[in-house]
């Protein structure tokens, strides 16, 4: 196994993954807001080699974003309060999309709205657009005054909104969740029941940093969203919790810098991952993640990424169930997998059963 000659003769690892109707070459996507509209890094990252490119969240109207200071570094991470600066629906469709299509990227368009109605109008306008493989609904921006993470952290609202969006596209619908909730699992279940093809876990964590000299936030707003390696352990747990709660694929996001980081998310059940802040540090980060992931799997003789996925799902006694929880609630936190409602109905989540198999192998 160690001789390089043999290794190079080994077959390629099958990295393809399926997210709803999308068949992706590999599970590495760029995270919304960290890769522009997709073309900005195209001279250093050949876009078709990535699993997909998730574009900056687009809103109905263009937004100029929040005033400076918009970012602040913290230990192992950064806070941002960009405030969804974006070109708006019309320019996205007329200028950004054609360029991105011409580069051969698998395009996932991120959309954000302050109300379910706004999201409907956005998806109505883009849902049939050729060349968009899927849509990520940003239910979790911590940096806008209305329609941000807090507004959407209500399971019923998510479910109803997704049910209204579902008919508007045949593309994949990804629901991007905030981590700042008591149970990401509950939100994930609501998304699944509303008809989402996948959930993305997670967006940034809300945080603060002060400038003591000015006795005020370092940012132009009181709070921002924390991203980067600092949040990786937390994002990993939330991703795992979501993956155990639903059967639809979960896409991991939060602090992924390397292929090994990505494999951690997939080992706890993620079907794919997103590379975010890492691209600011190394523009080729997503490609590097992909290469490292493949090299690691090849070296260990893992032929298909599917065999890796879920292979480290915890066995279940991790965090206590809430004994006082009302039975009517659909809540699954990170409790015993075989007690989750899905499993009580005798259905194993694909991630979980796959994990079992590969552990047997």
């Amino acid at each position: 196994m160690r001789a390089p000659s043999r290794k190079s003769r080994e077959p390629k690892v099958d990295l393809s993954v399926r997210i709803g109707p999308m068949e992706l070459r590999n599970p590495v996507l760029t995270a919304s807001g960290t890769f522009g509209y997709g073309d900005e890094y195209a001279h250093v990252v050949p876009l078709p080699s990535l699993g997909g490119v998730i574009t900056k969240t687009v809103t109905l109207e263009p937004r100029a974003g929040n005033p400076p200071q918009r970012i602040a570094e913290t230990a192992g991470g950064m806070l941002n309060t960009i405030g969804l600066e974006n070109v708006g629906l019309l320019r996205f469709r007329s200028e950004k999309l054609p360029r991105l299509r011409s580069l051969g990227a698998v395009i996932v368009a991120s959309i954000g709205g302050e109300t379910p109605g706004e999201l409907e109008r956005l998806l109505g306008a883009l849902g049939g657009e050729p060349g968009i493989a899927g849509f990520e609904i940003n239910f979790s921006c911590p940096n806008i005054a209305r329609g941000g993470a807090r507004y959407w952290a209500v399971p019923r609202r998510l479910e109803r909104t997704l049910a209204r969006l579902r008919p508007l596209t045949r593309g994949a619908i990804l629901a991007k969740l905030s981590p700042d909730v008591t149970s990401v699992g509950d939100l994930a279940i609501a998304c699944e029941q509303g008809g989402a093809d996948a959930v993305t876990a997670v967006n940034t964590f809300v945080g603060m940093a002060l400038d003591l000299a000015r006795r005020s936030s370092k940012l132009s707003r009181a709070t921002g969203g924390l991203s980067g390696p600092a949040i990786k352990p937390l994002a990993l747990q939330r991703c795992c919790e979501a993956a155990r709660a639903v059967r639809i694929p979960v896409i991991g996001s939060g602090g992924i810098l390397s292929g090994l980081d990505a494999l951690e998310f997939m080992a706890v059940g993620a079907a794919a991952v997103q590379v975010g802040t890492a691209s600011f540090i190394r523009p080729r980060a997503a490609l590097q993640v992909l290469e490292e992931m493949e090299a690691f799997l090849r070296e260990r003789g893992v032929r298909r990424i599917d065999d890796w996925r879920g292979s480290a799902m915890p066995s279940g006694d991790a965090v206590d169930e809430d004994p006082g929880r009302k039975p009517g609630l659909r809540a699954v936190t990170i409790v015993r997998a075989d007690r989750s409602p899905r499993n009580r109905r005798g259905v194993r989540s694909p991630a979980f059963s796959r994990g079992r198999e590969s552990r047997r192998a």
Binding site: G33, T34, F35, G36, E40, Y41, H43, V44, P62, A64, G65, P67, P68, Q69, R70, I71, A72, E73, A75, G76, G77, M78, N80, I82, E85, N86, V87, R91, E95, G228, P229, T277, S279, F280, I281, R282, P283, R284
Partner: protein, 290 residues
Amino acid sequence: MTVAVSAWRQVRGRVDQQADFGAGHRWLELRVTAELEPPDPGQFIQLLIPSHASGAFLPRPMSVASVRPLRDGLMLGFLYVPIGVGTHALAALPAGAEVEALGPLGRGFPLDRPGTPVLVAGGRGVAPLLFAAESLARLGRRFELLFGARDRAHLVGLDEARRRVAGRGRLHLSTDDGSAGIKGTVVEALDRLSPRPDHPMVIHACGPHAMLAAVARWAAERRVTAWVAMESVMACGTGVCRGCPLARSARGRAAFGSQPPSLLGNRDYAMCCTEGPVFDSRDLDWERIE
């Protein structure tokens, strides 16, 4: 004006040497591979220290202070002040240490504009202007270099400056305490260079924010064009993160006009890292920039 929006690359660099440069400043010589395009004066590099050797997470933007071609790459010079975790980590790197260099980034000083270039440097802001002086000298163009600081000891890089103006430019010093050159600010030094209608001047300035604001006022009052190198907290340095906005003035908004928002910015905000760091001082809203 140099538009280098997507000519940048991230390449390996190696500390060739670095040393104290007086008054708390450091001079760093970084050897980078040939894939890096040679930067222009006013452009900057994002320096990334390997994570094991630095508590800093994001790369740190640094103006290029000198460029020397090597057989297989470039030797970049940086003049910097260790102030926080990133720059202290940089200062602790011994010769041979690896640093990734992303660049060249942003748009530099438009030195080719007609008129006499007047380079105005405050404190460590001298870094890109040393480079500008060298370029101008190499092109055989005459220029003025105004260099101001708190006191003589803080005129860091003075010898470099002297060497670079030699023959081609004139050096005008100013210090707050009069310990070198005139007693006063660089703006007072500017006053002494009366603009002559037949020889219009174009200012290229870099220094503390208050100095740049004063230069901008001075230039506006005299209808002189002033190009100012701005700073902002940055993450990506490439226009993608949208983290480094600077508010445009009414003139700046009008100039941006109905352009589509782009890597350069939008109608309200210019991105410091792509449209800048060098701006026409009239295009920025100095009231809304801290």
